[in-house]
Symmetry: C2
Subunit: 315 residues, 2 copies
C-alpha cells in the first residue's frame, strides 16, 4: 500500500497516519504538509506547498493507492485572508487532482470536506438532499473541491470520495484559527487545569464527531468500493448534536464540578457570527447505510479523548 496524506502534519492527518501504520506495518505512508510537529514512526514526512505543482510532484508520483487530502487553511483564517484560502483550499485541491490525473493509474482520493458547506437560512434538520449554501469562504472552497472530486471521478482521473466532517471534538493541542476552536477548548483546557473563556453562549448547538471516529471514517471511506458512492461522491458524516451547556454537563459527569467550573463565557461577535451560520442537526441515512458511525454520546466522546491522548486530568 502506497499512501499519501496531505495535511499529514496536522492534528487529524498525524492521527490518521498512526492508525494506518498500526493497521499495516508494510504500508508506505508519506505525510505532506507545510509544517510538522511530532514524528509519526513508520511514516515519511515531506515538507511542501500544496498549491505548488513541483512541490506536490515530489510525493504524488508513481503507483499510489490512496491520497487522503486533509490539507487546508481553516475557516477563520480563510475568512480573514481570502487570497490564502483560495490558494490553499481551492488551487491546492485542483493542483492535487491534476497531479493525481497524471499518475499511471487513478488513485483513490479521500477528501476532507466540512459541515461548513452548509449555512444561512437552513431547515431545522438537514439531510442528504440539502443543497450546500456556504456562508464562509472556507465552506465555499470545500464545496468547490467536492465538485472537482466528483468530476475528476466521473472522468476516470481519480476514484474520489468526499466526507463532510462535523466539528471535530476534542482536538488536542493548542487553540487554532478555526472558528470552531472553542468547541474543543471548552473540554480540553479545563481538563488541563486551564481556565477557558467560551466565545459563544451556552445554548449554542454543535454537530460533533470525535477524532477517533473521523479517523475510522477516513479509512472506511477509502475501503468502500466505488460502487458504494453516489455520483456526487460526497456524504454527510453522522455525528451527534450537543449544546455547549450539554458538553459542559458531560464534562462535569466525567471529570467533576471543579473542572467544569474553569469555563466562563465571554461572547466574541466575530466567532458567534460565523458559528451561527453552521447547521446543528442532521439526518444521515446515506452515511449510516454506507457503514459510517457516530459517537455514542458526549460523555463517551470526552472519555475517548482522555484515553486516546493519555490526558492526566487536573481535578
Amino acid at each position: 500500500m502506497n499512501i499519501v496524506i496531505t495535511g499529514g502534519g496536522g492534528f487529524l492527518g498525524s492521527r490518521l497516519a498512526r492508525k494506518l501504520v498500526s493497521k499495516d506495518k508494510n504500508a508506505y505512508i508519506t505525510l505532506f504538509d507545510a509544517a510538522f510537529g511530532a514524528e509519526v514512526p513508520g511514516a515519511r514526512a515531506v515538507k511542501g506547498d500544496i498549491a505548488d505543482p513541483a512541490s506536490l510532484g515530489e510525493v504524488v508520483k508513481g503507483e499510489i493507492d490512496t491520497v487522503f487530502h486533509l490539507a487546508a487553511v481553516v475557516s477563520g483564517a480563510a475568512e480573514a485572508d481570502f487570497d490564502l484560502g483560495m490558494r490553499v483550499n481551492l488551487e491546492g485541491t485542483k493542483n492535487l487532482l491534476e497531479r493525481c490525473r497524471k499518475l499511471p493509474r487513478p488513485p483513490k482520493v479521500v477528501f476532507s470536506s466540512s459541515v461548513a458547506a452548509f449555512g444561512g437560512d437552513l431547515p431545522p434538520e438537514l439531510d442528504d438532499s440539502t443543497t450546500p449554501t456556504p456562508q464562509t469562504s472556507y465552506g465555499t472552497q470545500k464545496v468547490m473541491g467536492e465538485y472537482l472530486i466528483a468530476d475528476y471521478s466521473r472522468k476516470g482521473y481519480i476514484d474520489g470520495r468526499s466526507l463532510r466532517l462535523p466539528t471535530i471534538v476534542v482536538r488536542a493541542g493548542r487553540p487554532n484559527a478555526a472558528a470552531s476552536s472553542f468547541a474543543s477548548a471548552i473540554i480540553r483546557e479545563p481538563l488541563n487545569g486551564v481556565p477557558l473563556e467560551c466565545p459563544v453562549g451556552p445554548q449554542t448547538g454543535i454537530w460533533l464527531l470525535s477524532p477517533r471516529r473521523v479517523v475510522d471514517a477516513f479509512i472506511h471511506a477509502a475501503e468502500l468500493p466505488a460502487s458504494a458512492w453516489p455520483s456526487a461522491r460526497v456524504v454527510n458524516l453522522p455525528g451527534i448534536t450537543a449544546t455547549v451547556d450539554e458538553m459542559l454537563k458531560a464534562l462535569e459527569r466525567v471529570a467533576g464540578e471543579k473542572v467544569k467550573a474553569r469555563v466562563s463565557f465571554k461572547p466574541d461577535a466575530r466567532i458567534e457570527a460565523i458559528v451561527r451560520t453552521w447547521p446543528v442537526r442532521f439526518r444521515t441515512p446515506r452515511a449510516l447505510a454506507m457503514g459510517f458511525k457516530p459517537d455514542a454520546d458526549a460523555q463517551t466522546l470526552i472519555r475517548d479523548y482522555i484515553e486516546d491522548e493519555n490526558i492526566k486530568v487536573k481535578a
Copy 2:
C-alpha cells in the same frame, strides 16, 4: 452606464449588446471575446483571452456598472477537451472575479450559468431546492462559478447574480459543439430549406427558453436590487418543456408540413448520453416571483425567431 459583456462576440452576447444599445444610446458597451462575427453598432469590440489577467485587464478597469459574463467553452467542447473547459470556464471566471474585485467599486456581475448544473438521478420535476449534480465538466464548471459568484458577493467584492439558463432555442447561425446544438438545428435548418438529421429521438424532452426571453432575463437580472436575490445569488430561469416531436409539430403549424419533413432521425450515442443527463421539467416559483418570464409556447418561440432574425422561410 459602463457595461462589459464577456463572450460579447457570441450569439447571445451580441444580441444582448444590441438590446442594451437600443435601450440606452449613451451606454458605453464593451464586448470582450476571443473572436467576433458581425459588428454591433454602438458597442466596442475587444479581442482577448478571458483566462489571461493582462488581457482581461484591458477592458475590466475603471468604473464599471455591470459585467455580463457569458464567455464559455460549450458543453460538448468542455467534455472533449477537459483542460480547455477548466481554463476558460473555471479559471476564466475566477480571473474575471479577481479583476472585478480590484475595481474602484464593486460591479454587478450577471453570470450565465446553465441547466447543465443538474443531471443524473433526478426527480421528475426539479425546483429551487434541487441540489446541482452535474454530469458534465461544463456543468461542474458552471456550478463552481456560481459558488464563486456567491462568495465574492458575500465578501462585497462584487454584486453577483447567476442565471441557470434552459437550452436556448432557436439559435441562429451554424450548429456548434454544444451537445444541445440539435435543439435549435431541428427548427433553424428546415426553415432554411436544409435537411437535418436529429441525433436524439422524438420523445427526448428539452427545457427551453428563447434568445429573446434570455436577453430580457440578463437585463432584468442586472436591474433587480441586490435585496431581491437569495444569498446563493442564483436562480433557475423559467422555461417551457417540449419534446423534439412537440417542437416539430409546432414547426409544422408555423411553417408547413414540407418544412417539418426536412427533419429525419439519426441517433448519436455520444450526444444522447449527454442530453439524457439533463433535466426536462422544472417548477420555478422563485424566478417567477422575481419577475423572470418564460416563452408562451413552442409556436410563439418559433415565430419570435423568424421575426427577430428576419428569416425568409423556405417553404
